[in-house]
Symmetry: C2
Subunit: 215 residues, 2 copies
């Protein structure tokens, strides 16, 4: 049943589920924990979303399109600005990463939780193939085409493996495990997405150039 009236408890269920699924995964969270966190009866989750799996998908899809639109706008903007010769590798990667940071700047903790959930899904051999490709692959294809244009000598395999490295570095960042905090003795913070991207962009761009410019 589609919602007909504003139902704040419905949103609270999504918010709490988002946070808990990101932290413990699909099987590590019970409907009762979500209901308790949202201060809501257990049955309400089923009423609004049906099965547990459908709630999980609803959480995943709620912000997926917003994120895709934000990224697509950033990519097209830098393509328009670069003109006929096309954007540089740095500009393309920047347009891939910075939208994630803007989402954080709103101060909304929900986006932080959501990105950790995407990291969980993307890194999972079970959920990854089931949920990532339909939601994100089309836009990723656009990015890879843009990168191919910026790196004309690149072989296909090199391009995909390089994107894989970018995706991995990004995924571990979004997961916010706090491991770098301890490893660096507090010099680096998992919560500091801006610092992460400031270092990731030149790192990844240099990697692409090294691997994709030398056939």
């Amino acid at each position: 049943m589609a919602q007909k009236r504003a139902s704040p408890k419905r949103e609270r269920i999504l918010d709490v589920a988002e946070e808990l699924f990101a932290l413990h995964g699909f099987d590590g969270v019970t409907i009762r924990q979500i209901a308790a966190g949202a201060e809501v009866d257990v049955a309400l989750a089923s009423y609004h979303f049906g099965k547990k799996l459908e709630l999980f998908q609803a959480v995943f899809e709620r912000r997926a399109m917003l994120l895709n639109n934000s990224r697509r706008d950033a990519l097209h903007a830098c393509q328009k600005e670069a003109g006929k010769k096309g954007p540089t590798v740095e500009q393309i990667i920047e347009s891939f990463l910075r939208p994630l940071e803007l989402a954080q700047e709103t101060g909304d903790a929900g986006w932080r939780h959501y990105l950790a959930l995407v990291a969980y899904v993307n890194n999972s051999p079970y959920w990854g193939p089931r949920m990532m490709s339909s939601a994100f692959d089309p836009l990723v294809g656009e990015y890879i085409e843009a990168l191919r244009k910026a790196l004309p000598k690149a072989r296909d395999e090199s391009l995909y493996w390089c994107y894989h490295n970018l995706s991995g570095a990004l995924t571990l960042t979004l997961a916010q495990t706090g491991r770098i905090d301890r490893l660096s003795g507090g010099k680096c913070l998992s919560s500091d997405f801006q610092a992460a991207y400031d270092h990731m962009i030149p790192f990844v761009a240099a990697g692409f150039r090294e691997v994709c410019n030398t056939p």
Copy 2:
């Protein structure tokens, strides 16, 4: 109770648990599923390992020391060979990644499952801080010191963020989600660790140089 006699069923429990935990995570696997997979009674897991959490830890620790030793040998070997000036960034990263590949060459599927489990743990905001640092951080510290010596101009933050990028790219590789297979239309295979490292080593080395040579 420590095992006093050779008990093949005990090993089978560890093998099956390794595979299932890697695929579905700690909460996504039941003791009964593990017992069924190992063709063993449910109670046997408790008899050998105690609580479910202790079984999980036993699986995680079984190969941790073997992996650490293999990596430490590789690092020390390339340090010895390089002499006083120390190994290059490529050599250090090679000694970090190639042992993972050798573990696969034995043909033992167990190592493949184990590495996917490490990826799951490392990417988890819940398990990462609890299990990774005690098992792997000491050796990671050695690697970072070696990298610092090879990149004398590097600031601490740069060094840690670059290692974070390396760790992320590696983690997604170990997870073997098969996403790159679909994305590349079969040109790249998640199961091909050698191809992954062949591209990852120059990619990451170039990234380190770019970020850590320009203060």
